[in-house]
């Protein structure tokens, strides 16, 4: 989650006392441009059932256009995850503005629900450690 719009949006959900799933954990980076695909792989390896990368809306990135770069990386990452047998729904990239507290809450709640229907991620044993090879 980038430090600017999306983190502020999540804070807004807090100030508005909305409900956010307790099994969602935010990792703050300065910008989605910093989100190395390895971070996502690492999360899956550590037992996450889903990962969502949240940034500012396209055009609003605090650092100009890094979220477009994140978008490109995400596409490539999805192709890689497919090879590992990880469903696309488990790794999303989305955008939240600083004002969208409700949008944030809805988005992550929806994602948690979707992943619940998919069930826990059962990573094949041979893919363990893959993140370290990349």
């Amino acid at each position: 989650m980038c430090n600017w719009c999306s983190y502020a949006g999540a804070d807004k959900a807090g100030t508005a006392q909305l409900r956010v799933p307790h099994n969602l954990s935010a990792i703050r980076v300065m910008c989605t441009g910093r989100v190395d695909p390895q971070f996502v792989l690492k999360a899956f390896r550590e037992g996450a059932d889903g990962v969502v990368i949240l940034g500012c809306h396209l055009g609003d990135c605090h650092y100009k256009e890094q979220n477009y770069r994140a978008l490109q990386r995400h596409r490539i990452l999805l192709a890689m995850l497919r090879q590992l047998g990880i469903e696309e729904e488990r790794c999303r990239l989305d955008f939240v503005s600083a004002a969208e507290g409700e949008g944030f809450a809805r988005l992550v709640t929806g994602m948690v629900e979707a992943i619940k229907t998919l069930g826990p991620l059962d990573l094949p044993v041979h893919s363990h450690g893959l993140d370290q090879k990349i």
């Binding site: 006392q17 999360a43 550590e46 809450a105």
Partner: protein, 655 residues
Amino acid sequence: MRVGVYFCLCGPNIAEKIDSEAVRQAAERLPGFGYCRTVEFLCSAAGKSAMEKDVRENRPDRVVVAACSPRDHEETFRGVLARAGMNPFLMQMVNVREHIAWVTADREKATEKAIRHIGAAMRRVVLHEPLERREIDVCTDVLIVGAGPAGLKAALNFAEAGRKVCLVEKEPVLGGLPARYEAMFPDMECGPCVLETVLGDVLHGPHAERIEILTLSSMEDVVGYYGNYTVTIRQSPRYISPDLCIACGECIPVCPAVSGNPFNYDRNDKKAVDYAFQGGLPNLPFIDAEICLRTTRNEDCRLCREACLVEGAVVYEDSGKKVTRQVGAILIATGAGLYDCSRLPNLGYGRLPDVFTSLEFERILAANGPTGGAIRKADGNPPKRIAIVHCVGSLDARHKEYCSGICCETAFKFNRLVAHKLPGAEVTHFYKTFSVSGKRGYKLFGEAGARASTRFVRYDDIDRLDIRSDGSGGHHVVLNAPTAAPSVTESDMVVLCPALVPSEGTARMARMLEAATDRFGFLEELHGRMDSVRSKVRGIYMAGTCQAPMDTQKAVEQGLAASGAILAGLVPGRKLVIEPVTAVVDQERCSACRSCIPVCPYKAISFDSGKDSAVVNSVLCVGCGTCVSTCPSGAIKGNHFTDEQVFAEIEGVLS
């Protein structure tokens, strides 16, 4: 390593939702645990001073603050640590309030989540490195490129604040476009008169000695970064000594070389030694090397020197000069030009006589222009009917989709000047839409509408407008309607009001300074609403129509705004603080692939061929981390957000 945990209850905000005792007991079992303090209000004055005292006494190696959002108070608690004598970056915050207490209904689940997140922060914080804010000396002088209203006002503001300014202007005269206007909307004061309020002080005011004016000059090279630029400027020869010339004009009539005057869009001739136009400041003639027989034909003509009343004022030996200046910031104020009307061939521009652009018409109207202010057709007679076409190339996806916001008022200014100069002449405005906003915008529009000689004709697509010769020296302005018969308006003169587009100089400066431009070619702001005079490159500022189309009032305001922003950033005696949360290249690991260079929007990375490695300029780096995740060799470290730190946090929250 001992980690001190400060758990803020935030009154009832966190206390009611999270079992702080359970948190403390869980933290105690984690590796690295030093101690845990539960505080009522950590951010209160009492909370902060208690924390400072506690840190000083207990000397933890690292600190975790579990409280509110780091967006609120990370800086606050960094300050506490610094005052307690600890490196402020050896702390990690856990957003217990916004991300846990306020959004989790179940107290047990909230407590469990707080424990996981505090654990993650403890794992992360042990990997934190002490980072130092660096300070560097800066130069507080400024370079301004472009001496239009925006650049001039900024220059004066700097000089008044006691700063040295170098003002670079490519033309031999100052003032930008308004120096060429007979009158300016909305108040119809003459252009040079409006400029005089600033220009007079720039040239001769009490602070003028701090402004170095370089006319006929252009910036050739720039190296360095915010606070420390070295700029090379090339000044072309004027061949007339500004110190000796008394502006008597004796040299002009004797000069045998004549050519079209570009300042009047070639609508009259000028001599090789001449003024750009009467009243242009500084009030000095110049020798145009492209006309002078000495330079064009290698002749030994000395007529102007012989006619000159002052010994040594005409300097054939002048070869211009190259100067270098040290400055801390660069302000671009290179203005705008007009959209090329020949891209709309149906309007007859360049093909039919007496079809002018708005800037050409400004000169025709001007008392110091090619006709002394008389509106005359090519055949020498005054026109009886003038058509003014608004929105040329504007509000049109095939040309420029924006509205320049100044053409309507310019057109109504023309209406008024025509009414005064040619009473009874008919003026027809062909328009797509009117834009006359602001508290004074309506004035000239209202006046024009009240004049019996004014007509308005609306068109919706410029392609339906056809300007043809009427066969006897005049024009037919034909509006082809899709359903009805075409309507024909007779006119003797047509004035086209095209969209404002970035000037050539603006494009050149953007390239040289690597400042981004938007899709129209205007300089791109750091933030369109909140920071429109700062570019994305730290240290490069902009003002006036190089940023967007605007009228002179706004251009001048931007000049003031940009100078204010620069003055606030570069203060004599104050050093520039460089934040340490930046990217750092490990030169041993860098494989010289250069992938990182284009991804940085701040031009902070360059390649050092001597070291065979990319290098990050920490003054320009803002720490977004994009290059870090781009580097295929893992050679770039994102300070305070290293791979290891982020991994540790991920492990923690998922444990």
